[in-house]
């Protein structure tokens, strides 16, 4: 497949360039350099910044981000390269010959301090009323360089209106340092291209198409730009005040569900290194805060697998048994709302490929306001559903007008990991020291399959564990149920499973090779969609797409910072927890069985589930609907 060789299709006219250095045959793979008077051997073409950081030599930076292409714009990282008149931006300087570098000479220190003074002179904002207080790269730099007065003055009035138009993203350009990380994230990493530097010179401003409010442009609400913004200029829209109000209101029954990837990341907000799962402590904390019920979204993930897996089998049946030419295959997953908005804007002609399943968050909301309300005998009007998600797009999703089949909003509030951590802190709780406890019944039990939804490839793996077993009556033929082709962090991955010795009712699938593909980050989604359009996916059956790099563990609502390493650690935490769980297949979850017996009585993809758990999509195209 030519997918990985495909041209980057970012909107032309906006793409920041990448620097690529090809090694000369006569230079070799490694180069000797001198840094601050000491010798080091570094790989050819590595930047000065990387070379220094690999050797524990600290160089400050601001516009540099590991996930993004180079900018070399802020100049905070300048160093001295012997023999050069000017200082060099270490983040953008590839080492291709023997050079001598000085990282803290007088010229360097003075220049960095000046640059910082300049940035601060134009920075309007007060740390104590800023979401990024204590986790802000600008603030950290000011501390590091001992800034104790505004050498070049300080802006006294705000210049820009805060853009609060979006359900998910808030933009406060008075705090922007013009590092363009958001621009590079949106164009390069996500290939959406909402943000760009506009105007020139001193008037330069990060803006949207025609300066429109961000609600009125094709932003997919993925929040990846927030995760990479070094300052408080970009943040998520925080509903915690309303949630506190609901908690404090005795007439309200406030139910919270937590997505699989929260537990793997929330510890970072409390200073733990990435990769510590905090499931039990988090549940305890949520109870202490005062939520009436604490449920696990993993349960709804299991439900999604039942529905989505069945939908896939039905599509296969219609196509291969009945020869229905209208059936669209491969079926694309639909649990990532950023991806949904992306395809609605960019590939509106291909919405029929999407599974009609709602995301787990929304399914859960619908179940809570119907089945759960009945069982508990609570008026659904008095139930407030909160979803803690790694995701900012979920804030948009829960406000989609079609998401209220029960007559009530499936989900009232979408809360991010960061915002939840803030609520926990506000309640005076230090998470890591709490005792563990379990989720509430009747939705407390979830399978490992639901849990791994949190990492890219997880939905696919979970679905395969169930689909294979439905069709053959046996477990998937992978050691320990770990379907390894689904794992990893490559942007686009693919694999297949062959169905043999199938049950009678699935005779037509005997020997059938189920081909699947997995992509994360919408730039990779775009590659897959282009392949689809070019007929390269005709023999594929199931495609998982997550809008965020790494899947939910790298979601736009997760703790800041993010990096490939951090995402890898979070994914590891999830897979390790899956291994330990007694139930690892969605269809074996007893609560799932129970709900199909008691409530969704006509089974997966039946009438009731169609009304409550499935949805439809909007052909948005270039227009904002």
């Amino acid at each position: 497949m030519a997918i990985n060789a495909m041209q980057n299709r970012a909107p032309v006219a906006q793409k920041p360039h990448k620097v690529e250095i090809k090694a000369d045959a006569d230079v070799g793979a490694y180069i000797d350099v001198e840094i601050n008077g000491k010798g080091y051997t570094v790989p050819f073409g590595m930047t000065i910044l990387e070379a220094c950081r690999n050797n524990n030599i600290h160089i400050p930076s601001l516009c540099y981000h590991e996930d993004l292409c180079l900018a070399g714009a802020c100049r905070v990282c300048v160093v001295e390269v012997e023999g050069m008149r000017t200082l060099q931006a270490s983040c953008a300087y590839p080492i291709t010959n023997k050079i001598k570098i000085w990282t803290t000479s007088e010229r360097v220190r003075k220049a960095r301090r000046h640059i910082l003074d300049l940035l601060l002179s134009e920075h309007y904002g007060e740390c104590y009323s800023c979401v990024r207080n204590n986790n802000c790269e600008l603030q950290r730099l000011a501390k590091e360089y001992g800034v104790d007065f505004y050498r070049f003055g300080h802006i006294k009035e705000p210049r820009y209106e805060v853009d609060r138009s979006s359900y998910a993203i808030v933009r406060d350009m008075d705090k922007c340092v013009l590092c363009k990380r958001c621009v590079r994230t949106c164009i390069d990493l996500q290939e959406v291209g909402v943000l760009e530097a506009t105007r020139r010179g001193y008037s330069t401003l990060i803006s949207t198409f025609m300066d429109k409010p961000i609600l009125d442009v094709i932003c997919i609400n993925c929040g990846q730009c927030i995760n990479r913004c070094p300052t408080g200029a970009l943040r998520a829209k925080d509903p915690s005040d309303e949630i506190w109000k609901a908690i404090d209101d005795p007439t309200k029954h406030v139910v919270i569900q937590t997505a699989p990837s929260i537990r793997a990341a929330i510890g970072e907000e409390f200073g733990l290194p990435p990769g510590h799962s905090m499931t039990g402590q988090m549940v305890t904390a949520l109870r202490m805060i005062g939520f009436d019920r604490v449920f696990d979204t993993n349960f709804a993930a299991d439900l999604t697998i039942m529905e989505e897996g069945t939908e896939l089998l039905l599509r296969l049946k219609r196509k291969y048994l009945f020869g229905d030419p209208e059936v669209k295959l491969p079926q694309f997953t639909s649990c990532s709302p950023g991806w949904i908005k992306f395809i609605e804007h960019y590939y509106p002609e291909h919405l029929d490929y999407l599974s009609t399943c709602k995301s787990p968050q929304q399914m859960f909301g619908a179940i809570i306001k119907t089945f759960y309300a009945q069982e508990m005998q609570i008026d659904p009007a008095n139930i407030v559903t909160v979803a803690v998600m790694p995701c900012t797009a979920k804030k948009f999703e829960c406000n989609r007008p079609e998401m209220n089949a029960s007559g009530y909003k499936d989900i009232d509030y979408g809360l991010t990991t960061r915002e939840l951590a803030q609520m926990i802190k506000e309640a005076g709780i230090y998470l890591p020291e709490l005792p563990k406890s379990y989720f509430d019944e009747p939705f407390g039990n979830a399978s490992g399959a639901g849990l791994i939804f949190g990492a890219t490839g997880g939905v696919m793996e979970a679905a395969l564990r169930t689909v294979y077993e439905i069709v053959t009556g046996r477990e998937v033929p992978f050691e320990n149920l770990d379907i390894t082709p689904c794992r990893g962090m490559d942007g686009v991955r693919q694999g297949s499973v062959i169905l043999t010795d199938v049950k009678d009712e699935w005779r037509f699938l005997e020997g059938f090779e189920v081909k699947f593909m997995i992509a994360h980050g919408t730039s990779n989604a775009r590659k897959v969609m282009e392949a689809l359009i070019h007929g390269e996916l005709d023999d594929y059956h199931f495609v998982e797409i997550m809008a965020c790099p790494g899947g939910c563990i790298g979601g736009g609502g997760q703790p800041i910072p993010t990096s490939p390493e951090i995402r890898r650690k979070r994914a590891e935490a999830i897979y390790n927890e899956d291994k330990e769980l007694p139930i690892r297949k969605s269809h074996e979850n007893p609560h799932i069985k129970y709900i199909y017996e008691k409530f969704l009585v006509d089974g997966p993809c039946g009438h009731i589930s169609h009304k409550l758990l499935h949805t439809h999509y909007v052909k948005r195209g270039k227009f904002i609907v």
Partner: protein
């Protein structure tokens, strides 16, 4: 047009036929000839042209490009316009020679938006060259193919900077790139590319037609050849002059009939401001370099106003990408405003000079690196005048 002594450009009979000659040489020979002539870039930075061409020639690539920088955005320069409109052959065939020298297939002329009126004329000229087999396939019967396309800029000064120019050619926002890698390696669309000034190509034409020896007899040790200078401001005979490198500022002033002079801004807005006490200095890459702009101010000029104009220009024309230039120029301009109001202390002025020095070394491209030049040279050379309405110490220092 006034000419002193000798001329390279202004005597058409003396131009000779360089294209024929070049195509009979090997590309290496052409590059070596240019290198031997000591020709340095006429766009301002003065990079040795032969060296640049050699780097591009030896870069391994199936495609290469030539770009003629006709953005001529530096305030006070208009010499490229004269070359393009009156000595078109030198420039266009100079580009073809450059293309042959580095073995490129395609050339661009990046024409300043304000020169759009030349667009049709130049295109007709290119068409004529194609008919005469001096452009296009099999130039002059050789197997060298090369064509030239004209692209119009849209008025951003920074797009004269070679990497921002390439970004603009590629259809992006005009912002300078990181260097290294340099355009000779990774230029237009990532291919080896030489960017040269209009006058540089015209000089290359002369070098080939007359020989490196002939060319290098003009000028100084490190600045060979003649230089076109656009003179404007307070003098009797403004215009384009051809002078040998090494000419003293004093001599130039005499030549153009400048009287009662107070200062000379050499090198455009980003150049330096030379007071009368220093007019024995000379114009060359060794002493005072210039892309061609000389602006003369007489005793009636208010140097603070002059400086303010320059700084306003930079605040607007910076691409806004890097911190030192985007905000630094604004701070310098605010400093000038404080000076005007008499509210800038010596201490703060020194702080701003230091900031200017940081900008010179920490900015990403030549614009930010040279924009503090007029600030630093005017406030140091005319300190008394500048500080005359200052109430010392009132700025909190």
């Amino acid at each position: 047009m006034p000419i002193i002594n000798d001329t390279v450009f202004f005597d058409e009979r003396a131009h000779g036929e360089a294209l024929e000659k070049a195509l009979k040489m090997t590309p290496q020979e052409v590059v070596l000839e240019v290198r031997e002539s000591g020709l340095r870039g006429r766009g301002g930075a003065g990079f040795p042209t032969g060296t640049k061409w050699m780097l591009a020639l030896t870069a391994k690539s199936d495609k290469k490009f030539v770009v003629c920088n006709a953005d001529e955005g530096e305030p006070g320069t208009f010499k490229d316009r004269v070359l393009l409109s009156e000595y078109t052959k030198l420039v266009l065939e100079g580009i073809v020679i450059g293309g042959y020298a580095i073995q490129a297939q395609k050339g661009f002329i990046y024409l300043r938006g304000e020169y759009a009126y030349l667009y049709e004329y130049l295109n007709d000229y290119l068409e004529r060259m194609r008919k005469e087999k001096r452009l296009g396939k099999n130039i002059l019967g050789t197997n060298f193919d090369f064509d030239i396309e004209i692209r119009l800029g849209s008025g951003a000064y920074v797009c004269g900077e070679e990497t921002a120019l390439i970004e603009s050619l590629e259809g992006h926002r005009g912002e300078a790139r990181n260097r290294p890698p340099f355009p000779v390696n990774t230029g237009y669309l990532g291919y080896p590319t030489i960017v040269n000034n209009v006058e540089t190509f015209a000089c290359a034409y002369i070098v080939i037609s007359k020989g490196a020896q002939w060319f290098s007899k003009y000028g100084t040790e490190k600045s060979k050849g003649m230089k076109l200078i656009s003179v404007s401001g307070d003098c009797k005979k403004p215009g384009v002059y051809e002078v040998p490198f090494g000419i003293k500022v004093k001599e130039l002033l005499e030549l153009v009939g400048a009287e009662d002079t107070k200062a000379v801004q050499i090198g455009g807005a980003s150049g330096i401001c030379v007071p009368m006490s220093e007019i024995d200095r000379n114009i060359s890459f060794e002493d005072i370099p210039t892309g061609g702009s000389v602006i003369i101010f007489n005793q009636n000029r208010n140097m603070l106003e002059v400086l303010k104009n320059f700084m306003e220009f930079f605040v607007e024309e910076s691409c806004g990408q890097c911190t030192p230039c985007r905000i630094g120029n604004k701070k310098l301009l605010e400093g000038v405003e404080l000076l005007e109001e008499g509210k800038c202390s010596h201490k703060y002025l020194n702080e701003l000079i230091e900031l200017g020095k940081t900008m010179q070394i920490a900015s990403k491209c030549g614009l930010g690196q040279s924009s503090p030049n007029p600030f630093i040279s005017i406030v140091t050379n005319f300190k008394d005048e500048i500080m005359s309405n200052s109430i010392r110490g009132k700025n909190g220092y």
